[in-house]
């Protein structure tokens, strides 16, 4: 029997009384009808009193229904603000015990299965920044920008509360959002760079390990260790989402990613099954492969002074023209535009007084 190495759309994994309930609370406080919000899902209103599990497909449907009922563009931001530390038992205690951004984000990333359903936060370092990428776990499709907005707001708001003040975050979004920039200014303190190809939250390295409090008692340290072990116990049987599992395989070799058959073999599936499962989750193999390569490319565009020819060689294209054509397919924009966006995002920040 093949070990279960990922979860799929229909598996009931997410605790209803956690993040989904917060979203429903917000909307019912605004006067929305609970039955309308739960339409098309397998959730009943009484489940919100007793608790239960909701599948990824249902959670995505719920988010879609929520957006229909809220005509302002603010819902994602309001939801995000109330997400963390939250009331999720040991996981919330762990987040509350964080003493700097690194500890907070690490807690979020280690236990993302319990803290941020459907997306996977991942930390990556460039020369001057710490980058928190938000990757698709299970095929969130049209709802991904909403989830990204919510989770980024969640990080910014939680850090502001725990740290006692705002930190200069920067953000890059893959979607070309239609949200007025004033919303970003209010909730994030800065307008994000749009159409970058990734969803990433950046903070300058100097803030990453900067302690929020001058002193930490032995009691709090012990308590934090206890929370860590409790969380680790819960997380023993956790596995990644299907889309993230395939993406992980593809991005290991961005220069020469494996084809459909090779990837299927690595995952222990037939090529036809892989193709079908990808379709069920709203992706195609080509798109996911392009996505993995785009990821690698954006960092190179933002960091090095790589020309199109050099990038073409790096990604094993015959010439710059082929690379340009492929890049346009990956991002929906030319490499020069992509480079401008990436450079603006990763630009060297001047120190503020």
């Amino acid at each position: 029997m093949t070990p279960h190495r990922w979860y799929e759309r229909e598996e009931k994994l997410w605790e209803l009384l956690h993040q989904p309930a917060i979203l429903l609370d917000l909307l019912t406080a605004d006067g929305a009808n609970l039955h309308q919000l739960l339409k098309g899902t397998a959730v009943f209103p009484q489940d919100l009193r007793t608790g239960g599990a909701i599948s990824s497909a249902d959670l995505i449907k719920l988010v879609g229904n929520a957006r229909l009922h809220d005509n302002s563009s603010e819902l994602a931001f309001r939801w995000g603000q109330s997400l963390w530390p939250g009331h999720y038992g040991a996981f919330s205690q762990l987040l509350m015990g964080a003493t700097n951004i690194a500890e907070f984000v690490q807690g979020l990333a280690d236990y993302s299965h319990f803290l941020c359903p459907l997306l996977v936060p991942r930390v990556r370092f460039t020369e001057q920044d710490c980058c928190i990428e938000w990757l698709d776990g299970i095929g969130t499709g049209e709802q991904k920008p909403f989830l990204v907005q919510a989770y980024m707001t969640g990080v910014i708001a939680a850090v502001e509360w725990l740290a006692g003040g705002r930190v200069p975050w920067r953000a890059g979004l893959s979607a070309r959002s239609l949200v007025p920039s004033e919303l970003y200014l209010t909730y994030w303190g800065a307008v994000p760079e749009l159409g970058v190809g990734l969803d990433v939250l950046l903070i300058s390295r100097e803030y990453w390990l900067k302690p929020w409090h001058s002193h930490r008692s032995q009691t709090t340290l012990t308590a934090q260790r206890r929370h860590q072990s409790q969380c680790a116990e819960f997380a023993v049987n956790v596995c990644p989402g299907f889309i993230f599992a395939v993406f992980s395989v593809l991005e290991q070799k961005p220069r020469d990613p494996p084809g459909l058959d090779a990837t299927a073999q690595i995952l222990g599936l037939s090529a036809a099954t892989l193709k079908r499962k990808l379709r069920e989750h709203g992706w195609s193999f080509q798109r996911l492969q392009d996505h993995a390569r785009l990821h690698a490319c954006v960092y190179k565009l933002g960091g090095d002074t790589a020309t199109n020819e050099q990038l073409a060689r790096y990604f094993n294209f015959n010439n710059a023209t082929n690379f340009r054509r492929a890049f346009k397919r990956w991002l929906g924009d030319t490499p020069s535009q992509g480079r401008l966006a990436a450079l603006r995002l990763f630009a060297k920040q001047t120190k503020t007084a």
Partner: protein, 299 residues
């Protein structure tokens, strides 16, 4: 509940009158052979009757009870009856040879139009009164799709549209004040979404009490409000900003559940228009707000 019941009774009256009039028409005449029916006439008059019925439905649904609604209702019902009988005329030949037809042409339809016109005239005066009440929320430009459900104020898009209108107009001197509640996220966390919404709605009312007639209040996002002050010099704008801050800081908000008082702190940023774009103006105000907030923390 009484409002809904009264609306239902209006629909019942409408249905009853239609039924009564149709019954009278049928009893008073004979059915025509279908071959003699002018279908174009039926579609035209019948269609018009149905459209008028729809207008009636929309108006009764949207409006509160009152004299104006009653007038509009009566007027449209008569107009509907006029068209309805006209359409029925195609199917039923009137026996009395004159009374129904006469009533139709000379009385019901024009009477309905006249009553409806009286209703509209009264509605016009009513609307002027409402416009006066909404002045600080709209400044003579209504966009119901841009209204925020929590505070009934315009949002970020409405704000930008209004600023663009000011920029294009002859009023070249205006200021924007951004006013934000400190720690609103925390308030929301502690007391819940419903209390947070209520606080925003009350703060909006409080701010409006402290505005002049020509000022406009919008809710940009979260707990951030924007006040647009047209034809206002920078110095006066600063004075107004200080007044608004004072009003907010002294506001003793009462929590519904416990009756406990929760005071609010706020931060603000002011920017005066001097030729820059609207986005730059708002960015300037935002930068000022951030700088002021940082200063207050240090102090």
């Amino acid at each position: 509940m009484t409002g809904a019941r009264q609306k239902v009774s209006k629909y019942a009256v409408f249905a009853f009158v239609t039924f009564l009039v149709s019954l009278w028409s049928v009893c008073d005449g004979q059915w025509r052979t279908l071959a003699l029916v002018d279908w174009l006439d039926v579609v035209g008059e019948g269609g018009a009757a149905l459209v008028v019925a729809y207008w009636l439905f929309l108006i009764v649904r949207a409006r509160p009870e009152g004299r104006v609604t009653d007038q509009l209702f009566c007027g449209l019902t008569c107009v509907f009856i006029g068209f309805w009988l006209d359409a029925m005329d195609e199917f039923v030949q009137s026996d009395s040879g004159g009374f129904m037809d006469g009533a139709l042409e000379s009385v019901v339809l024009p009477a309905g139009v006249l009553i409806f016109t009286c209703g509209l005239h009264a509605w016009h005066r009513e609307q002027q009164q409402i416009n006066r009440q909404l002045r600080n929320r709209e400044q003579r430009y209504r966009d119901h799709t841009a209204v925020d459900r929590i505070t009934d104020l315009g949002g970020a898009r409405f704000l930008k549209a209004q600023l663009a209108r000011l920029q294009a107009s002859r009023i070249q001197q205006f200021s924007v004040l951004l006013l934000e509640l400190d720690d609103f996220a925390n308030f929301s966390r502690r007391y819940g979404a419903a209390a947070a919404n209520e606080l925003l709605a009350k703060v909006a009312e409080l701010l409006m009490l402290n505005l002049r007639g020509q000022d406009l209040l919008c809710r940009v996002a979260g707990a951030r409000f924007a006040v647009v002050m047209p034809a206002t010099e920078a110095a006066q704008a600063h004075v107004l900003a200080a007044e608004l801050r004072e009003a907010l800081v002294h506001y003793a908000y009462k929590l519904d559940a416990t009756g406990a008082t929760v005071y609010q702190a706020c931060r603000s940023g002011l920017a005066t228009y001097c030729g820059q774009t609207i986005d730059e103006l708002l960015l300037q105000a935002h930068a000022q707000l951030v700088a002021n907030a940082a200063q207050l923390k240090v102090a």
